[in-house]
């Protein structure tokens, strides 16, 4: 609707130009270079387009700028970019895990990061297909920081993979996994590193790892047990399909190169060619228990009501917005106050603190007026004017001369003196 109204509105001023456009090539050339009708019409169309662009130059430029802006925005949105989630393979910050993912990729492991349950399942399926001929299935890393996944989802994941690595799982997740692994508190304060001290292959070859702010787990097979505490930082199930890693620091960009962190991480995660890196987010929460929204409660006609009201609003805009013909040109006269020049000069005096010059002007003006009032003629000397003025007002000559010949130094003196001059003039006029 808008475009129709808009094109109609612009249509009227355009019409006089249209007959002019084909005349642009000189008429004498037309018979000399006979062209096929198709070419000439194409050329005419091109000329029309050029003329149109020339006429609507501002709009063309605006459209080009907005098109470039939209293109850049889309390109920026589509291009791969980092995020800020902890242990994300796209996060290059200290708490991210981009380093370990890049190392694994360079070692030939296909790392895919997912952030929701269906995508993870399809990624696992893809990975299982592409590595069908291998004996090892895909590895799944699960880091469910906020416990979004419910029991069923965790069990589905467990069934779908041969090797599941869970990083700092909560009690709910461990219950769902149900392989006898239980949380056992945190690593005691002051313990910086832990030694493997167990027979599992990966920890044993990795050596000691960072233990700060790690969680401990009890399990059938446990490594990195702190002295005296139950459970360890690295726990595995009996069937070796489940591994629990009690520390995010080991995988983080920040501490990956400390101690045996890198070795442990790479050995744990790089066992197979395919690695699915799953960081669940809020969309994985099952919606069964969410309360009813206003949208669910509203009757079905509410949607259509809003839609129709919006349509009416658009119609009303078209009704009120259509102008009755083009605007009319009004040649406006110049609006300059003649006194502007004097005011400009006053500001110059003020800015330059031209007290002397201002005083000279004021004195000259007063003298000229006094000479006229006392009928001394335009060529009268200033001493004569002072004498005459003194006699006229009945003061001594010195007194009058002190007023008329004073030289103020500061602005406050100037103000006081200017008022004295005015008073003197008033006295002369009054008598």
């Amino acid at each position: 609707m808008t475009s129709v109204a808009g094109s109609k509105a612009q249509g009227t001023p355009e019409t006089p130009h249209v007959p002019g456009t084909p005349q642009t090539p000189p008429p004498s050339e037309a018979p000399r270079t006979p062209e096929t009708p198709g070419r000439s019409s194409a050329r005419r169309a091109a000329l029309t387009v050029t003329a149109w662009i020339r006429r609507h130059r501002t709009w063309t430029v605006l459209c080009l700028i907005s098109a470039v802006g939209v293109g850049l925005t889309i390109a920026a949105l589509l291009s791969p970019h980092g995020d800020g989630f902890p242990l994300s393979t796209r996060n290059a910050a200290p708490d991210g895990a981009r380093a370990v993912a890049e190392i694994l990729r360079s070692q030939g492991v296909d790392v895919r990061q997912t952030d929701n349950f269906p995508a993870t399942m399809s990624a696992l399926d893809d990975a299982a297909e592409s590595s069908a001929d291998d004996e090892t299935g895909p590895t799944l890393l699960l880091y469910d920081r906020n416990g979004y996944l419910d029991q069923e989802q965790v069990q589905t994941l467990q069934r779908a993979t041969d090797r599941l690595v869970v990083v700092t799982p909560r009690l709910n997740t461990l219950n769902a996994l149900g392989s006898g692994i239980r949380p056992a508190g945190v690593v005691p304060a002051g313990v910086a590193t832990l030694d493997p001290g167990c027979g599992m292959e990966d920890p044993a070859s990795a050596g000691s790892v960072t233990a700060e702010s790690g969680y401990l787990y009890t399990a059938p097979r446990v490594c990195y047990e702190p002295a005296g505490g139950p459970g360890g930082l690295y726990a595995g199930s009996e069937d070796r399909r489940l591994t629990v890693l009690g520390s995010t620091q080991i995988l983080s960009n920040d501490l990956l190169d400390d101690h045996g962190n890198a070795a442990l991480a790479l050995r744990t995660l790089g066992a197979s060619d395919q690695l699915v890196w799953y960081l669940p987010d809020i969309s994985d929460v099952t919606a069964a228990d969410t309360p009813q929204t206003l949208d669910d409660l509203a009757p079905p006609w509410v949607d259509f009501l809003g839609l129709w009201l919006a349509f009416i609003a658009v119609l009303a805009m078209l009704w009120r917005g259509r102008r009755l013909g083009p605007l009319v040109f009004e040649p406006l006269p110049v609006v300059v106050k003649a006194v502007e020049t004097a005011e400009g000069r006053a500001r110059l005096y003020h800015d330059a603190h031209a007290v002397d010059r201002a005083a000279d002007n004021l004195r000259a003006g007063t003298l000229v007026r006094l000479a006229w009032l006392l009928r001394l003629g335009p060529e009268a000397e200033s001493t004569a004017i002072v004498d005459a003025a003194a006699r006229h007002v009945g003061r001594t000559t010195e007194e009058t001369a002190r007023v008329l010949e004073a030289r103020p130094r500061t602005e406050s003196e100037l103000v006081r003196w200017a008022q004295q001059l005015e008073t003197l003039e008033k006295e002369v006029t009054a008598r």
């Binding site: 110049v334 300059v336 003649a338 004097a342 406050s412």
Partner: protein, 430 residues
């Protein structure tokens, strides 16, 4: 095309089916009905290509009065025209009812009267007329803008006319017709008549008295058939506003009063507006009413943002009058460098003519010069003093050259210039 408020209301009625049967099908159906009604109404609207426009404009109007511009709309089509018409007068034309509803049956014509109350002097135009032709249901309309240029000339108001009776009385007092005889009023010998008590004894003509038994006195009358040339400066300085009126308009008022007065005084008046070329010209030599010609010449004048070419002024005056004339220059005294323009030219003209320079003084300068309370005000007073002194210096130099200077505030300038003319005439200097 355009839609009307009725169509929006109709769409609002469409809310009922849409909410009663909330379904996409209903929406589509209602949209279809709306669209078809719209198209039907649009197709039944009058064809705007078969509309003729004709203007009947008042030629002239003075600034303070109002006038009626008549636009005749003819419908040569077969369908009746139910139109909303806009006559696009420029804003300063003060059109009171430029948008009107006009119903023109097929093959008939109707008049649209637009009341104009102009707010500005000059040629005010209306470049086009826009018609919006509604269908029979008045839901939708076709719209078209037709070029139909029209213009009204707004004449200067001549406010100074109120000074005319008193100045004419003064002028008549100079004449022998009046009861009061002033010795030395005018220089032309008029007639001899018998002495009546109260006559000035100095005007007794002893020679004639000796020939007769009664005492005879001479009477004089002011000179007649002298030439008055008025030049109005339309250069950049005429654009400056003094007392919320451009210098140009004050100059026009003064020139009008002087011209009318001089014509009644029996002199020949010529007027020209000049900056780098002549912008307007009028005079008693051509046919017709002088005042009418003057206002016609003055109405379209606008200040041009260029410097006045003083070098051409004597030549222009020589073209108008080769004899000794009263040359009135309506130009500011404080325009840039008078030493280069005004002064030498005035000196040159004063050798042949009687020259009067009439200039507008800014009352704001006087007010600025008297305020002396704060430092900023004192500096303003000093600057105003400076401007006034410079004007005064130029005026003194001009008087030394034998040029009359009339320097007055905007409302005082026309009567002051008229007084100067009467004074010169009384002194027989024309």
């Amino acid at each position: 095309m355009a839609i009307s408020g009725r169509f929006v209301l109709l769409a609002l009625v469409g809310l009922v089916p849409v909410t009663l049967f909330p379904d996409w099908g209903t929406v589509l159906l209602v949209c279809l009905i709306l669209c078809s009604v719209l198209l039907l109404d649009l197709s039944l609207a009058a064809n705007l290509r078969k509309v003729t426009l004709d203007r009947a404009l008042p030629g002239n109007v003075t600034l303070t009065s109002s006038t009626e511009a008549v636009l005749t709309i003819g419908n040569t089509g077969s369908r009746p025209l139910r139109a909303f018409v806009r006559d696009a007068w420029q804003p300063s034309a003060g059109a009171q009812n430029p948008r009107q509803r006009m119903d023109v049956p097929a093959s008939e014509r109707r008049r649209m009267k637009v009341l104009l109350k102009p707010a500005r002097r000059g040629d005010l135009t209306s470049p086009h007329v826009t018609l919006r032709a509604f269908g029979p249901l008045r839901l939708a309309a076709r719209q078209r803008t037709l070029p139909c240029p029209g213009s009204v000339r707004v004449l200067p108001p001549f406010h100074s006319r109120r000074h005319l009776p008193s100045k004419l009385r003064k002028l008549r007092e100079l004449d022998g017709k009046a009861a009061v005889q002033i010795r030395g009023a005018g220089t032309e010998f008029d007639s001899l008549r018998d002495y009546v008590r109260g006559d000035d004894v100095r005007s007794i003509d002893w020679r004639a008295t000796a020939r007769r038994t009664a005492v005879v006195v001479r009477t004089w009358r002011p000179e007649r058939d002298r030439r008055v040339v008025i030049m109005l400066d339309t250069s950049r300085t005429a654009a400056a506003r003094i007392d919320d009126e451009p210098r140009l308009d004050t100059g026009i008022e003064a020139a009008l009063l002087l011209a009318v007065l001089a014509e009644r005084g029996g002199d020949r008046v010529d007027f020209f507006a000049f900056d780098r070329r002549t912008r307007g010209r009028a005079g008693s030599s051509s046919k017709g009413n002088l005042l009418g010609q003057l206002v016609q010449a003055m109405a379209p004048l606008d200040p041009e943002l260029i410097e006045l070419d003083w070098g051409q002024v004597p030549g222009q005056i020589r073209q108008i009058s080769v004899h000794r004339s009263l040359v009135v220059l309506l130009t500011p005294l404080d325009s840039g460098v008078p030493e280069e323009g005004l002064l030498p030219m005035a000196a040159q003209l004063a050798q042949q003519h009687v020259v009067v320079v009439a200039s507008v003084r800014d009352p704001m300068l006087g007010a600025m010069q008297k305020e002396r309370t704060t430092a900023a005000q004192v500096f303003r007073a000093a600057a105003a003093e400076r401007a006034l002194l410079e004007r005064e210096a130029v005026a003194i130099q001009l008087r030394h050259l034998g040029v009359e200077v009339v320097d007055a505030e905007p409302h005082q300038l026309p009567p002051a210039l008229a007084d100067a003319y009467i004074r010169l005439k009384a002194a027989g200097r024309l």
